[in-house]
Amino acid sequence: MSNIHDKELIRRMAEEAKRGRLSRREFMHYAVAAGLTASAATGMWSGVARAEPKRGGVFRWGIHDGNTSDTHDPGTYVTRQMIYLAHQIRSYLTMINPDNSLGPDLATEWSANPDATVWTFKLNERAVFHSGRKVTSADVIASLNHHRGDDSTSAAKALLTDVVDLQADGDHAVVITMARGNADLPWLMTDYHLAICPAMDNGKIDWKSADGCGPYKIEQGEIGLRWYLSRHDGWHGEGAYFDNVEMLILNDPNARQTALVTGDVDCVSLVELKTLALLKRSRDIEIDNVASGGAITMPMHCNVAPFDNVDVRNALKLCIDRQEIIDKIAFGAATMGNDFHLAPVQPYWPEDIPQRAYDPDQAKSLLKKAGMEGLSVSISTADSLFSGAVDMCVLYAEQAKKAGININVVREPNDGYYSDVWLKKPFCAVSWGSRPTPDVMFTLAYKSDAAWNESYWQNERFNELLLQAKAELDQERRADMYREMCLLMRDDGGTIIPFFNNFVYGRRSNVKHSGSLAASWECDGARAPSRWWFES
């Protein structure tokens, strides 16, 4: 550090970090590269770069997906409006931390028996609802029961099918008994449906009142338009620096962007990628580009010719130029996929699996081996899947020509794509939201008997490992199992994964955050109001 140039570099990095342009990870990376020791860099990050949060202000937040007919029923949460609101007014047992690890929310600690079939969650005794009543085990049990039973209409029902019993252990502990061991149960509790609501005397939850034990409470609001929240002083967590939060539903991309540019809002949850470069020019606006676990997949039905031949599947995986697709379709706001459905920001991501590259020559030779030269296939897609869904397939078709493969792009109607095309057409494009752990994702869409096994892939070893890993509490052994499963998906599976899409959101430059941002939802896991602050 005797070098003056280095000092200047560190100073500039600190400046960038203060403006929120450099994440903690990047800061550490560059600082160590510049010759600092890791511990010195850590000290510097917390001491120099990271400003102390300040309390106060009204955080005005423009949100991209809301509908007038949404409700407060956690079982039918589907739009961002309600999911984000739930993260302000309600609490969950656990939460995803800004560094994407699992942390406590309403539950302070949790533990399992050795085969992971009986879980005990201890509740925070300080937690109170906005109405002033203490949060007890009965509330948690009623809230989870809302997603169970024959008459439940909850979309989270499938998540809790293995739960056989819920018992209160005193006022502040809940014991969950599972039919099969599940080491991921604490992760599942972050699912946005599983919000804790006050229980009524009949054991049902009172969701209509919108009471909860989250950091903010509703002052006034109208579904599909606007919510005005104020800080809940009895909140059990840390943060909630803003006095008030105003959530505005801005479905129109242009309205969102204009509102951010003119300063009518302090943050918007989604920025149009096409105009990202222009928006970045403004000194008043900071863009957060955060890798997520949401994936674009292209499943091929492994039980249908020609996709029943593994060489054909791998040839189709080799003739896609992922980088070009990321540059041109996702405008750079994406993380490259490697044909296994686990993103770098998710737990158990195996970092040592080599990236599959664009290699039309090898694809050609694989096809030759399979006796399928000049292969011709059709891929189904629709505009509504994600921005650029049709363009992506057209670009892929062009790239595949170099391997002598003819891909015919079929544009399907937007309405009913998931009931008429997905799982029915042998090769199509699909968009997946992020799931908290590999077990949830793999069980949902890759297990041989899964209802949504979109590639109809049957791999005995994979299914065996999946069941073993589910109940394995030893982290290292578990990580090894997921690594092997990822390799099987990559080399034998029927799904092409071109990329994981990033969350791209914008804020006024006087809005600050810690530099690390949770990848579960946009805006720091939808918890920006309780984690971010205004620079005075």
């Binding site: 439940s152 209409t153 006034q220 801005l250």
Partner: protein, 318 residues
């Protein structure tokens, strides 16, 4: 006067029949849409099991005619039912939104109607002059551009670049009227630009048409100034077509504002209708469409009554 009353009553009766037919059409159209409310609410995460459970809870497992008659029996006594999604009363859901839409329409109409008629008179007076040409070209350009485009242009120049007006019409109950007028000025101005041309050109055409009549020539010959000829002699006889066009445009201000509402995030009834259609929330869709239909029927009726009242020959038939 008695004849006018009879006409009004007759037209109201016909209007009711029209509304009934429309309600059947809307019900049929919602039924034809792929997917139903259970699938729409549960989204991509729906399983067959909970879709079935939700259908049962909402009574969607009954045949369509039964559900329609069920709704109709409530509607004829003024109960439009509850929203299937949120469970709240449809009238309660629609009333504040419709009030917002009426406010915006009134705001735009108060500016547009006098402006259009005055401009219409002036261009008739100065017909074929440069002023006439410019006014025509400008109003025709604005009517030919899509509303959302006009909205973006206004936002760009009056909001982003100069900051005179806010880009989004964020309303809350504690705002003063002046503040509300300021916040909603850009959407109102967009609407004004959209409806101006039609009314202005109709006024111009109606007046010019009359200027060839012998009685106008008579007025001129006796030395009446040109503006007086138009205002005193031509305009009273031109009211009928003008009133019709004004009524048509007022109806458009209420029913055609969806795009403007989206661009300026204005909480009106159009946005509500779009939301209800995506969720297949039939009672809300039905109620919104009936409100729109009733608006058209009533404004058309008002236009007819207006033309009768401004025409002495119709007012006192032999």
């Amino acid at each position: 006067m008695k004849d006018v009353l009879i006409i009004v009553l007759k037209r109201l009766g016909l209007g009711l029949i029209t509304l009934f037919v429309i309600s059947i059409l809307i019900f049929g159209a919602v039924e034809l849409l792929p997917g139903d409310i259970a699938e729409a609410v549960l989204g991509q995460g729906a399983t067959e099991e909970n879709v079935a459970a939700m259908r049962k809870q909402l009574g969607l497992d009954r045949p369509a005619p039964v559900r329609y008659l069920d709704w109709l029996s409530g509607a004829v006594v003024g109960d439009f039912g509850n929203s299937l999604v949120s469970g709240s009363n449809v009238s309660e859901v629609i009333a504040p939104r419709f009030a917002n839409t009426l406010f915006l329409a009134a705001y735009a109409a108060v500016i547009a109607v006098p402006l259009a008629i005055i401009l219409g008179v002036i261009v008739a007076l100065l017909r074929n002059s440069v002023f006439d040409r410019v006014a025509n070209v400008l109003t025709l350009t604005s009517i030919s551009s899509p509303e959302f485009f006009l909205g973006y242009i206004l936002i760009l120049y009056l909001s982003v670049k100069t900051g005179y007006f806010p880009a989004i019409a964020k309303l809350s109950s504690d705002m003063s009227l002046l503040e509300v007028l300021h916040r909603t000025f850009l959407p109102a101005l967009t609407m004004v630009l959209v409806v101006m041309a039609h009314m202005m050109r109709m006024t111009r055409a109606a007046i010019i048409n009359l200027l060839a009549s012998p009685y106008i020539e008579m007025a001129r010959l006796k030395g009446t100034p040109a503006w007086k000829v138009i205002v005193k002699h031509a305009l009273p006889n031109a009211w009928a077509p003008i009133i019709n066009v004004v009524a048509l445009n007022l109806a458009y201000l209420i029913t055609g504002v969806v795009l403007v509402e989206v661009v300026f995030v204005y909480p009106g009834i159009g946005q509500l209708l779009v939301d209800a259609v995506t969720k297949r929330d039939f009672p809300v869709v039905q109620a919104c469409c009936l409100v729109f239909a009733a608006t058209f029927i009533l404004l058309n009726l008002a236009a007819d009554v207006g033309s009768i009242l401004t025409n002495p020959r119709l007012r006192h038939p032999k």
